[in-house]
């Protein structure tokens, strides 16, 4: 097994009076795609937000590249090389596509070569470069959200349900782009309810329920083991197929 890039140990997160994460242990290995599965309300989004520092863990530790980042501010976590594509995409609709990208390149001017590569991955970014981001379709907004996350080289990208509500053709395009991203040295932690998509690009998988990780292992293992799938899927996945 490769080295861990990100490790959550015994992470608890409270939102107001609610105890949402109840001791999450998760290892994201260096390289490849780790998929986080689980039914609605299991705590996947909360896990990503806790890693990003948008909600603070009340107990436990988040380690990234041998540093504890649990108590760092979100901007600091971002600057250490973690990008975040939230469930609602977090597009600045009042700004143009170009302006969204410009802000995403927080460390200086946009690297033109990288931008050209991104425009190849996601053609609408080029087509609508000067359009207001608010006029993009749902799929195009999702592409912009991922494009923003990769405009600068990142160690880790957290992506929350990028295929939610998208048409099959766009899901395929998105999957292809993520697969290509995998070949760079960026690690992806992907929250996904679409098991077909998830199993097609995932290397490692973790399944959540009720604020805990209930299964973790290689994706292939889960794909091959119908019984295990049955057990976990019955709990968490089938409803979303």
């Amino acid at each position: 097994m490769t080295d861990a890039l990100l490790t959550l140990s015994g992470v608890h997160t409270h939102i107001g009076p609610y105890h949402i994460l109840q001791g999450v242990d998760l290892i994201v290995p260096q390289g490849g795609v780790t998929v986080l599965l689980g039914r609605n309300g299991a705590g996947k989004t909360t896990t990503l937000r806790t890693i990003m520092g948008l909600w603070k863990a009340s107990q436990g530790d988040v380690r990234f590249e041998d540093h504890v980042i649990t108590r760092l501010d979100t901007p600091e976590i971002s600057r250490r090389g973690i990008a975040f594509v939230p469930e609602d995409m977090g597009i600045f609709t009042d700004l143009t596509v170009a302006e969204n990208m410009l802000l995403a390149a927080a460390n200086g001017p946009i690297d033109e070569k990288r931008l050209a590569w991104i425009k190849e991955l996601f053609p609408p970014i080029g087509t609508f470069w000067n359009s207001s981001a608010g006029t993009l379709s749902g799929g195009q907004k999702q592409m912009l959200a991922v494009a923003r996350a990769i405009i600068e080289p990142r160690r880790l990208i957290l992506i929350d349900e990028p295929t939610k509500g998208l048409a099959p053709a766009i899901i395929n395009a998105m999957t292809d782009a993520l697969r290509e991203l995998k070949n760079t040295d960026t690690t992806i932690l992907l929250v996904e309810q679409n098991f077909t998509m998830a199993s097609s690009i995932g290397d490692t998988v973790a399944v959540m329920d009720d604020g805990r990780i209930i299964h973790a292992g290689a994706m292939q293992e889960l794909v091959d083991d119908a019984d295990l799938q049955e057990k976990l899927m019955g709990l968490s996945l089938e409803a979303h197929q």
Binding site: P75, L103, A177
Partner: protein, 342 residues
């Protein structure tokens, strides 16, 4: 990417909708024409219109900071008027020191004196804004009720401090020679100072628009208004942005205070809280957080206040409130509703 084609989706906005979107901008000329019809006499109308625009510009200067602070930081600052008053008093003090220059017939010396007064006022209110944000506002981010109480408390403290430094009496501030008197155009007399106010206000509006549209800080402010969390997730320290915006807004209120003081030629410790009624009306009319809306709202309020003061002085006071009610019935979020995530 695969060969999937993603249909470009360029929205053709129907003409009727385009008109509807532009309507807020058209309200200003519509009101001006309505004023002309109601007043009848073009000379009086011209005088009142320039007076209204000047008043609107000054209100805009005071309100612009408040609306951006609200949009970006979600902070309701009832203490904003303190910066207006402090700015006016600091400006007064500087102009009093430079009395030789303001009384001089040299336009250059007059202008320099006013410029120094403005810069001093903006510097003091900007620094005061720094202290206000760190001490009073920072502990109550996200809590509106506490913000209202605590910023009102800050206002009272600031007013008392003015009493301590400048005494309890109202002070008279006289305009420099160059700004005194009127230009006569045909039969209309237009106060020179009002033209100056219109010029400064317009320049400020265009400058703010430029900053918000074409600089990274401006983009961050607009992005932060919509989704502050995402701005942080991209690696920017939004708290620093808050501080810069708060200080800028305070300094602009100070600028507005100097200009309003020179306009009224009298300043009092509570002038800030008095003008704040109009400032809040303008911010609400424009759409909380919208600089453009704030500008148009200020023009409407300025014009309407001057027209009604001439036509029906008794209703002048309630006319601006009636305007706010009418606009909110038409657009409950104000002229230019600001997009907010969640």
């Amino acid at each position: 990417m695969s060969d999937t084609t993603i249909k470009p989706r360029i929205e053709k906005i129907p003409l009727s909708e385009q008109f509807f979107q532009k309507l807020p901008v058209l309200l200003v000329p519509i009101l001006a024409v309505a004023g002309l019809l109601a007043i009848g006499n073009p000379a009086s109308w011209l005088t009142l219109t320039v007076a209204g625009l000047a008043m609107g510009m000054m209100i805009f200067i005071m309100a612009s900071g408040l609306t951006v602070v609200f949009g970006l930081m979600d902070v309701i600052n009832f203490g904003h008027g303190a910066f207006v008053a402090v700015g006016a008093f600091v400006g007064f003090t500087v102009l009093a020191w430079l009395a030789g220059w303001t009384a001089s017939p040299s336009v250059m010396l007059n202008l320099t004196a006013v410029l120094i007064a403005i810069l001093a006022a903006m510097l003091v209110t900007g620094l005061l804004g720094y202290a206000f944000e760190r001490v009073i506002v920072m502990p109550v981010y996200g809590e509106h009720l506490k913000q209202i109480l605590v910023t009102m408390g800050g206002l009272i403290v600031a007013q008392q401090m003015i009493y301590v430094v400048w005494g309890p009496d109202e002070l008279h501030i006289s305009r420099p020679e160059a700004f005194k008197g009127s230009l006569v155009i045909g039969e209309a007399a237009i106060e020179k100072y009002r033209l100056v106010a219109v010029g400064i206000g317009l320049a400020l509006f265009l400058g703010m628009r430029h900053i918000l549209k074409s600089t990274k800080v401006g983009l961050l402010v607009r992005a932060g208004v919509e989704n502050g969390e995402m701005v942080e997730a991209l690696g920017y320290r939004i708290r620093l942005l808050f501080l810069i915006v708060f200080m800028t807004g305070s300094a602009l209120a100070g600028l507005g205070g100097v200009m309003w003081g020179l306009y009224q030629e009298t300043i009092t410790a509570h002038m800030g809280s008095e003008i704040m009624v109009l400032v809040f009306i303008v911010v609400i009319i424009g759409g909380l957080g919208s600089v453009e809306g704030c500008f148009i709202g200020a023009m409407l309020v300025g014009l309407l206040a001057n027209y009604t003061a001439f036509l029906a002085p008794k209703v002048a006071l309630i006319s601006t409130i009636a305007l706010m009610v009418a606009i909110l019935m038409w657009r409950p979020q104000g002229l230019y509703p600001v997009v907010k995530a969640k």
